[in-house]
Symmetry: C2
Subunit: 177 residues, 2 copies
């Protein structure tokens, strides 16, 4: 009991929902949290499910600790590559994984010209939360933005469909682990 309290106190302060700024995907999936965690934190597994087909994830680097880099490269069906760089903020095994694209490895800010450019960049912090649910998992992806325009842009890019489809792929991969 003391241990549980201690951990609660030590948890980072995350996940205060602001509906105008945030996007949330919550699903019950029929694989346990341990497998969902492995699918999110092992490059070999992540590359199989991370991008909704026919897009592919062709590279992945994971340094699983606060301040560690989380880098992926997505490839479009036409062969164009899109690198994504981020930084882990919170790593609680089998339970919560948070990262942001405003920082890269070592908590260094991502280049500000990228932030201000006209490409598809928008700042976000994502928090994946897992909780046991029967034999499966209650899965919540909580994505925070700094302004409504970024949240809207992310939503219009197909957040719900894209993250939902990727999650289905994740579950299929987890079942084969």
């Amino acid at each position: 009991m003391i241990h549980a309290n201690t951990r609660t106190k030590m948890r980072a302060n995350t996940a205060q929902l602001r509906p105008a700024l945030d996007l949330v995907l919550e699903r019950i999936v029929d694989v346990p949290p341990e497998l969902v965690w492995r699918a999110w934190t092992t490059p070999e597994h992540l590359m199989k499910w991370f991008t909704p087909a026919p897009w592919k994830t062709v590279a992945c680097e994971i340094d699983l600790r606060p301040g560690g880099v989380f880098r992926t490269v997505m490839r479009s069906p036409e062969g164009r590559e899109f690198p994504n760089i981020g930084c882990y903020l919170e790593v609680i095994e089998n339970e919560r994984l948070a990262w942001t694209n405003t920082l890269e490895g070592g908590f260094r800010p991502t280049i500000s010209s990228t932030v201000c450019g006209e490409d598809a960049f928008f700042a976000f912090t994502a928090v994946i939360s897992l909780a046991p649910h029967g034999e499966g998992t209650r899965y919540t992806a909580f994505v925070m933005h700094g302004d409504e325009a970024s949240a809207k842009r992310h939503e219009q890019m197909g957040f719900e469909e894209g993250w939902g489809k990727a999650l289905e792929q994740l579950v299929a991969v987890a079942k084969q682990m």
Copy 2:
């Protein structure tokens, strides 16, 4: 020994110097790390030294945990107020304190229009490191930026003089604790 190793492994990945992008202030001060830490992490103390006089720090909010808010308001000699909002990334008591202004409390990105605006904003992550040095402290302020323009802007604003003067004020405050 095992404890020391464990902590080393659990440390976040910070502080990889890139000279073109970073600013560093290193000093030996004659107060112990515990007092420097208190001066940095207690609003009552911080407000006394944080801004080089005649500037003042007129408000301070500290939620001392990863994801916790670090907010200050500075007031110029002419009475103009400048709020600063940031988010703690790493908190190792008496040893290391890291925060960034690219995120606010709860790891939420700061508003992107602020990042791209023409005011004085530039993205940074600061890491304050303390180590015992005789009766005093080896004090290192390591400030990372995402591009050379931001580092240069920070330097031209008087990083070395400003942070150095604030540190002198900190030491004076610490000696009266």
